[in-house]
Symmetry: C2
Subunit: 252 residues, 2 copies
């Protein structure tokens, strides 16, 4: 996976940091980015604070190939992502002609007010990300892709954006689990499998279910044959403990 482009995600919003809202975007984006070969390597959840947003955007856009942001592009006073992105890039924050024309046409006369006009105001040079759900588009500037926080809207924006991104080899994975497995017993054998496949990420995840406890093992990487080989070794290891390995994740 080391040759793949790498992504960071900024979740912008006090509501996740205060515990009001359970984030629902990280898992979606993590999964989809893996599928298109741009694995997510860091997430930062930050408040609606101008200095923090500007500094963080500049840190992560320098460190990662792609940066995705969610949240803070609505019409209210706490929606400051767009103007902060302009400040981070050192460009004017100004009416985007195409976004402005589209949004103006979508409201009744007099309803495209100052608050809504903010949603058509973007960093100079931004290109729009389609929004098929509501009428305010997202945008990309440089390697930063600015999307809504509402999951349904974010997902529509991501699917409009994804075909335009130069991805890498998809991340493939295999999961196996065994009831009754104990991490403390399999650690040495699993470490040896990881050592034989340094190009893969092999993870060990205990699970606790009413029907029984156990461990799930996940092997992932960009080389399907290597993932298959590691999975076969994991299956043999599980059988070595007298437990039959089961394909996939343990049932919820």
């Amino acid at each position: 996976m080391d040759q793949n482009p790498r992504a960071a995600l900024l979740v912008i919003g006090n509501e996740v940091l205060s515990g009001r809202t359970q984030d629902a975007n990280i898992k979606f984006l993590a999964t989809r980015l893996g599928e298109i070969g741009i694995p997510l390597r860091e997430v930062r959840i930050i408040p609606d604070d101008r200095a923090v947003i500007v500094r963080t955007v500049n840190e992560v856009r320098a460190a990662f190939d792609h940066v995705f942001t969610t949240g803070g592009i609505g019409p209210t006073h706490d929606d400051i992502t767009s103007e902060c992105i302009a400040e981070a890039f050192g460009v004017p924050w100004e009416a985007h002609p195409e976004a402005w024309a589209r949004m103006a046409a979508s409201y009744k006369p007099g309803e495209f007010n100052a608050a809504r006009q903010r949603m058509a105001t973007m960093p100079r040079g931004a290109t729009l990300i389609e929004n098929k759900v509501s009428n305010a588009p997202g945008f990309s500037i440089g390697n930063v892709h600015v999307m809504a926080g509402v999951p349904r809207i974010m997902q529509a924006m991501f699917e409009a954006l994804a075909p335009t991104l130069a991805g890498g080899r998809p991340i493939v994975s295999r999961s196996l689990h065994g009831q009754g497995l104990l991490e403390g017993r399999l650690a040495d054998a699993l470490g040896a499998i990881q050592a034989r496949h340094p190009e893969l990420d092999i993870g060990s995840y205990p699970f606790y279910r009413p029907g029984g406890n156990g461990v799930a093992i996940v092997a992932k990487g960009t080389e399907p044959a290597a993932v298959e080989a590691a999975a076969a070794e994991v299956a043999a290891m599980i059988r070595g403990f007298g437990i039959e390995p089961v394909e996939g994740e343990p049932p919820a």
Copy 2:
């Protein structure tokens, strides 16, 4: 809230970044930290990668009053949080006598193997965080508090730790919502309420439900009277749109 101590959370683990696992710890810690007056101001989700963990720990422990970590303290090869914390602090990673004695006593003869001994190996100077659920403790060193990733265990560790933390004034909040409210219409009036209460965070969150769409408004801060005053202004604003405000969050 500016006088309160401030917290950062590091979620350490490939499983969240790959989309395998929906994080279940952020919301719990965000809520509990607000209650004890140590508001969560940043979350970073990072992979099981030594260089990234060491660098990130050192960045956030310098920038925040408290740092909480979840994940990576089990017995397998991908559990490297503890040794990375030692490296970040520049101290030896060595057997913790008390943790070692407790864990050794909890296993049958011969079962306290090398993998399990890693869970009793900690940065020199660490103080233990009790774990009433399983037998491997967490630990604190400096302002960094290292906890398990399994939610049930993390929560037990946090509740053992919380009374030892010098918190600030609790963050209190009031939520009001109205069906049929539109952010684009209330933005100006809400911005004016925020401007009159600069010591509060006032957030606006649209909701979309089968029963109807609307907006929820949340006012929070450390001064209950100010939160109440802002909530009264929000209620009056909602009534100004001919909509009756409803206490609390919209039903799920």
